[in-house]
Amino acid sequence: MKLTRLFLLAISASLFVSCSNDDDNDPKGVYDKGFFILNEGNSGGGSVSFASDDLANFTADVYKTANAGDFAGVYLQNIFFDGDKAYIIAGGSNVINVVNRYSFKLIAKVDSGLANPRYGVIKDGKAYVTNANTYSYSNPATGDTDDYIAVIDLATNKVESKIELKATANRILLENGKLYITDSYNDKVLVVNPTTKALETPVTIGYSGDSMEVKDGILYVLRAPYGDNRSEIVKVKLSDKSVTKITFPKSLDRAGYLDIYNDKVYYTSNKSVYAISPSATEASTTPILTASLPTGGSIYGFAVENNKIYIADGGDFSSNSKAYIYNLSGVSQKELTVGVGPNGFYFNN
């Protein structure tokens, strides 16, 4: 059963690769056909690393290499793409660096209208970027209700309007013309219609919702509440916003990240990666792999793509950390020394 599945998977993957090869063979730049590792950095600034898909080529600091003398900013949070461009969000610097995704040369910066920007998505020539704005530790009155979406006109790289969310906001996803937003301090998935800029009825999923992905009209949200509360995958059927849950056993408390790839839902807990079928009703407690992170290390970035599992160790935030790459059976393929605090993988194909 397992073997045949793998076999099928391998065939379909090779088909996919050969197809895309036919269409487009020439790399569009130095950083085509590979992936970026975003390094959040500490107060001294973040960086972006690049590795080719075959893991043969690696550049530790792409941004600095391509843009000597310019500073990407502090606390790099997210990268999103549009056409030939990549947008790098520096949360601590209220800036989005717009670069060519294949050369990483700086094109422009979105440098006003942002306040602690977090994550972004693209729709019809516009970027929708969540902004945490002020925080309740210093602004107890409105810190938890002043988050907004900055709507950025990608032709001018200017924030053209804001959508007030009246809640906290973090990760954002675009599906079928709607924006879905999670945040761990919010017990709801916010739903926004970007065309009308109207807030639609949110979906209550419980606190600590974080990574999410849509498959076949169902939104999968991983939530990992604090304290003695079980982690869950919350499934929201987007057509009627009905909710079902897969509650994890205690051994999977403080689950980390979720990613759906090739009809499997992958998720992490502590230093391990697990997978279940999208139709599963129970969590798997048998890890595909347990990353051999150093003491004090923790999974801080996670992705499954190109038949590989990618794990970033957050590290100690004062040293370069590592990215660990495994095949889908959990066999280690490569370790890469990246920058400080790697928090995400972005595939450039």
Partner: protein, 617 residues
């Protein structure tokens, strides 16, 4: 004032600094030093004393004074911004700052920001290298910096006013008055040092090609001091030291797009001290109340802030007894109660008591020994037994050998213990063993001090990311720090020409024993030099600082460093001899327009200027 006094005074002005063993204070009569233990129990260690003439030659804030004149390394978040130290390769909370004998490191974060202190508020500032926890308590690991106000008892009414105006609208008003007779002594001081601090970054441009400059870097440091002494008779005296300060600073931006924030902090210190001198028997009682607070505004434009405050009550009884002519014993009991409250760490109180015994034995004029032991008692942490053992032997006129061995510590702070979330109430103090050998050579007008040291630090606190992304302090690291410090001083008179030169060099290795990596933000090399010249009414000086590169990451990634830099200052002043002294001076700072930073992305200013008037009347 007699001619002789004038002569002595001008001599004082000449030397940039004076070694402790040739303490200038001893030449003036009837001065009550605020911290008698500093002199009494430092024979086996090296103390660098910076008197007011040196203080006046440097920029107002303490960072500059110590950066250009001592072996201490500074990490500055831009000019006038947060400034922390590494002394002998230790962390910023392992250098204790001592105000008139009282440890004033922040109870909240354990360290002192040297840009919140104006040098002119003190009569002298001493830098004592090496451990001192037996006398000064927590944080005296790498060394101690002493801010002293000494009260003199003779008839005088002296005023000193220094006005500065410099580049970037840097304004200094520093005033001090001394009023005293044989019974009373009062010293009142006021200092205000501010700057719009909007300097251009040399050769740095935004992506649009605009010149970059230091945005949101304005600061204003105001301090008011009043010190009062009364001598009841030859045996009994009472002293009161008070100081209030407020530092209002924006935090300079590292990118133009960042949200401008600001940080306001202040303190209020009061110390009442009784001194009794009954021949063989001496008594010193101190009571101090120290208040510190801060407010951090993450966004300047909003009235939203986080804050923290601590109030400390310190009482200290120090009873000294001379057993034999050669042997003195001091017994010290100490009680400290600190109440802290803030948005980050709730409301907590900490009580610490301690008992210490100090013995000083002078076998002969040339052979001096020191011994000290101290133990703290508190519910908060397990406290190690601290000790200090030292010996100094003078071989002829030329050579003085000093040996010192000590155990020192740094206690967890309110942030470490109680921060919400993450504070760890089960922390141990950081503790260290330290050994040093000092060689002091004195030949004619030259004094050369060389000290080799070795420090073994265990249970070093570090905030590490824990589960769920919550950072938490842990006693994780072990560090071995060793190195050499060289201090050189020379002065010479040729007719009416007075020359002086001073230099320091520190070689520092500070290794995490697990990784064998150098601690980040500890330079291997630091050099300072100062030469001065004066003739009649003119005096001039030149200062030089070389700061070796530092790693900015714990893994010593060779690409992640702050480059080495050399900075020079030059100054000249002319005394119009109007009133008791009327000096007009001019300084060029960063003379060679060095493009440098002490912390990544935080450039320091290029060549800049300062004009001052120094009036004594």
């Amino acid at each position: 004032m007699t001619l002789k006094k004038y002569f002595a005074f001008s001599l004082l002005l000449l030397c940039q600094f004076i070694w402790a063993q040739k303490d200038s204070i001893t030449s003036l009569k009837e001065v009550l030093v605020s911290d008698s233990n500093l002199k009494k129990y430092s024979a086996s260690q090296s103390v660098l004393k910076l008197n007011d003439s040196v203080i006046n030659k440097n920029e107002a804030l303490l960072t500059d004074l110590l950066n250009f004149n001592s072996t201490i390394y500074f990490k500055e978040y831009g000019r006038g911004m947060l400034s922390t130290v590494a002394f002998r390769g230790t962390t910023s909370s392992q250098t204790a700052v001592i105000w008139n004998g009282i440890n004033i490191n922040s109870q909240m974060n354990g360290s002192t920001d040297f840009n919140t202190i104006s040098g002119s508020d003190y009569n002298s500032i001493s830098v004592k290298a090496g451990g001192g926890s037996v006398i000064y308590g927590s944080g005296a690991v790498g060394g101690t910096v002493h801010l002293n106000n000494d009260l003199a008892f003779y008839n005088r009414f002296e005023n000193n006013l220094k006005l500065d105006y410099g580049s970037f609208n840097t304004i200094g008003i520093n005033y001090k008055t001394n009023i005293s007779n044989e019974k009373w002594s009062a010293q009142i001081g006021f200092s205000k040092n501010s700057s719009t601090n909007d300097y251009k970054y040399l050769n740095r441009y935004t992506w649009k090609g605009e010149q970059r400059w230091n945005q949101n870097g304005q600061y204003d440091v105001i301090t008011l001091s009043a010190n009062l002494g009364y001598k009841f008779d030859a045996k009994n005296s009472l002293k009161l030291y008070t100081q209030t300060s407020n530092t209002d600073r924006n935090t300079s931006l590292i990118t133009e797009t960042e949200t401008p924030s600001k940080y306001i902090n202040g303190f209020n210190r009061n110390l009442l001290e009784y001194d009794g001198d009954f021949g063989k028997f001496k008594a010193n009682f101190k009571t101090a109340y120290i208040f510190e607070n801060y407010q951090y505004y993450p966004d300047n434009s909003l009235n939203q802030y986080t804050y923290g405050k601590t109030e400390s009550l310190i009482t200290k009884a120090d009873v000294g007894y001379t057993i034999f002519k050669s042997t003195q014993v001091n017994g010290i009991l100490d009680y400290n109660r600190t109440k802290g409250y803030g948005s980050g760490f709730g409301d907590n109180t900490r009580e610490i008591s301690s008992a210490a015994l100090l013995v000083k034995q002078d076998f002969s004029k040339d052979w001096k020994n020191e011994f000290g032991i101290r133990k703290e008692f508190t519910d908060n942490y397990k406290s190690p037994v601290l000790f200090n053992l030292g010996s100094s032997y003078q071989f002829g006129k030329l050579y003085n050998l000093k040996l010192n061995l000590s155990r020192n510590f740094r206690i967890p702070t309110f942030n470490d213990l109680y921060w919400e979330e993450g504070g760890n109430p089960d922390l141990k103090p950081e503790s260290s063993y330290q050994a040093e050998i000092g060689n002091v050579f004195t030949f004619k007008n030259i004094s050369l001090t060389q000290t080799l040291y070795y420090i073994k630090i265990t249970d070093l606190l570090r905030w590490v990311p824990g589960s769920g992304g919550i950072w938490r302090p842990e006693n994780t690291d072990k560090v071995n720090s060793y190195g050499a410090e060289t201090l050189l001083s020379w002065k010479k008179q040729y007719g009416k020409n007075y020359f002086g030169a001073n230099a320091t060099y520190a070689y520092t290795v500070s290794e995490n024993t697990e990784t064998d990596k150098q601690l980040f933000f500890v330079p291997f090399n630091k050099v300072t030099t100062a030469v001065s010249y004066s003739r009649n009414r003119i005096s001039a000086y030149y200062q030089f600082l070389y700061n070796g590169f530092v790693y900015t990451q714990a893994d010593n990634d060779p690409n992640e460093i702050v480059d080495a830099y050399t900075v020079s200052n030059i100054g000249i002043d002319y005394d119009f001899k109007f009133l008791s002294s009327f000096k007009l001076g001019f300084q060029v700072l960063n003379l060679w327009n060095e493009n440098y930073e002490s912390l990544e992305n935080r450039p320091m200013p290029g060549r800049n200027f300062n004009l001052y008037i120094n009036l004594k009347f």
